[in-house]
């Protein structure tokens, strides 16, 4: 009975739940009441649910509105098509960005912590998919899981650099997905690449644009990259206080700057 029920649930959904749980536990462990980490951790389950709901149910309404509106609600289940995942990813991204914006933590550190959470989630996500698939997909997912471990280790070692340039981790992660995507045959190809590969290229290109802007204009608040993690938290807290109370009420904590040196 349980086996039958599990068979009816798409393996990607189970992998998402497993990955989301892994990311949540990791962020909870490393969070130390950091408001940015907490804001992302609190939205992990929402991201998973939004992806599933939008990719499976709402995508059908978006791609094929008329039959879904005309027919009964069950038709929505069969209407998502093969590109439902794209709608799911966009919806989950928007949900997270909006949530971080309303929590007033949207910024480079939020992108860095989200990238770190994505790495840990990906380790579990791809590991699960590697178990339930056979080659060549098993090899593809295994390499992605191992690659995510290496990227996470790099991110943890170079955390200050990552906070200043979160786009580098995102670009490296997308490059990993892009390279490993050659292992399995793609069934949908649009101008040489599959839609997923185009998405990877898009994120890499976006990261390069952000890197280019940083190189040309410099980082607006680059001093915080020299701070320790505690210092970055204090810096963000001060910025929030500035926004709420005006610059006169800024809490100045010089100890963090000393820590950094």
């Amino acid at each position: 009975m349980l086996y039958s029920l599990l068979q009816r649930i798409p393996s990607v959904w189970i992998a998402l739940v497993v990955g989301g749980l892994g990311a949540w536990v990791y962020l909870r462990t490393v969070g130390n009441n950091d408001p940015v980490t907490d804001a992302i951790k609190d939205r992990v389950s929402g991201v998973v649910l939004v992806y599933i709901f939008f990719s499976k149910f709402v995508a059908g309404l978006i791609f094929h509105p008329s039959p879904n509106l005309r027919d009964d609600i069950f038709s929505m289940l069969g209407g998502s098509g093969t590109n439902g995942w794209l709608v799911g990813i966009l919806a989950a991204m928007l949900y997270l960005l909006y949530g971080l914006h309303t929590a007033r933590v949207l910024g480079r550190r939020a992108f860095a912590v989200a990238a770190e959470g994505t790495m840990i989630g990906s380790i579990f996500f791809f590991a699960y998919l590697a178990v339930v698939n056979i080659n060549p997909f098993r090899l593809e997912f295994s390499l992605r899981s191992i690659g995510a471990i290496l990227l996470l280790l790099w991110a943890v070692r170079k955390r200050a650099q990552l906070v200043a340039h979160p786009q580098r981790l995102w670009a490296a992660f997308e490059a990993l997905l892009f390279v490993t995507s050659v292992l399995a045959l793609r069934t949908t190809v649009l101008f040489v690449f599959s839609p997923a590969q185009w998405l990877f290229i898009g994120v890499i290109a976006g990261s390069l644009v952000i890197e280019g802007i940083a190189d040309l204009k410099g980082l607006p608040d680059s001093p915080q990259t020299h701070l320790t993690e505690k210092g970055q938290i204090q810096h963000d807290f001060n910025e929030d206080q500035n926004a709420l109370n005006g610059p006169n009420n800024t809490v100045i904590d010089h100890t963090n700057e000393h820590d950094a040196h």
Binding site: S4, G79, L185
Partner: protein
């Protein structure tokens, strides 16, 4: 690292990455490469072959004979409401794509009864081959967990999509169009 050097290196690496992945992906689309894809009833794998008898004349249907043609496989049972709901759309799609795509209905005969199957075929006007899975071999081989289940297979024999449950007319047409390309 100096900025010009950094950007030159980045351009070379990313350019090589895109060209390399593009070339390998292009080679993977060849029929020879598709022949090496493992067999499994999932998207991205080669379809498991099967042999069944056809209704009503008991002719043998062997999917090995269909290699090189796009195939739409619909697995159904007469008592299943979503099967009843989607069949008129499949009948319409057959009129449009029947000359380009092999339509193959597989009835789960091991979980159905012949009078109802015959009535279903007559009622909806199914004119393409209907194979009878009397022992549930295909259900087992294809890991069928619900009815209807539809498989779309391209010319290389690769499953491009699996739809468990009712398929909408729009989705059906999109997938059929995709496997004919």
């Amino acid at each position: 690292m100096k900025k010009p050097l950094k950007w030159t290196l980045l351009s070379v690496v990313i350019g090589a990455l895109i060209v390399g992945v593009g070339m390998v992906g292009f080679k993977k689309q060849s029929p020879e490469a598709a022949a090496n894809v493992p067999v499994a009833p999932q998207q991205g794998y080669r379809m498991p072959p099967f042999t069944l008898t056809e209704y009503p004349d008991n002719k043998t249907i062997d999917t090995k004979d269909l290699i090189g043609k796009p195939i739409f496989i619909n697995i159904w049972a007469s008592w299943c409401p979503p099967c009843q709901e989607e069949t008129p759309d499949i009948v319409k799609a057959y009129k449009q794509y029947g000359s380009k795509v092999v339509f193959l209905s597989v009835n789960a005969t091991s979980q159905d009864n012949m009078p109802d199957v015959e009535q279903f075929i007559k009622h909806y006007g199914i004119t393409w081959p209907v194979a009878l899975d009397k022992n549930g071999e295909v259900l087992q081989e294809y890991n069928i967990v619900g009815f209807p289940t539809s498989f779309f297979v391209n010319r290389q024999g690769i499953i491009t999509d699996v739809n468990v449950g009712l398929i909408t007319a729009q989705n059906l047409n999109d997938q059929l169009q995709r496997i004919t390309e």
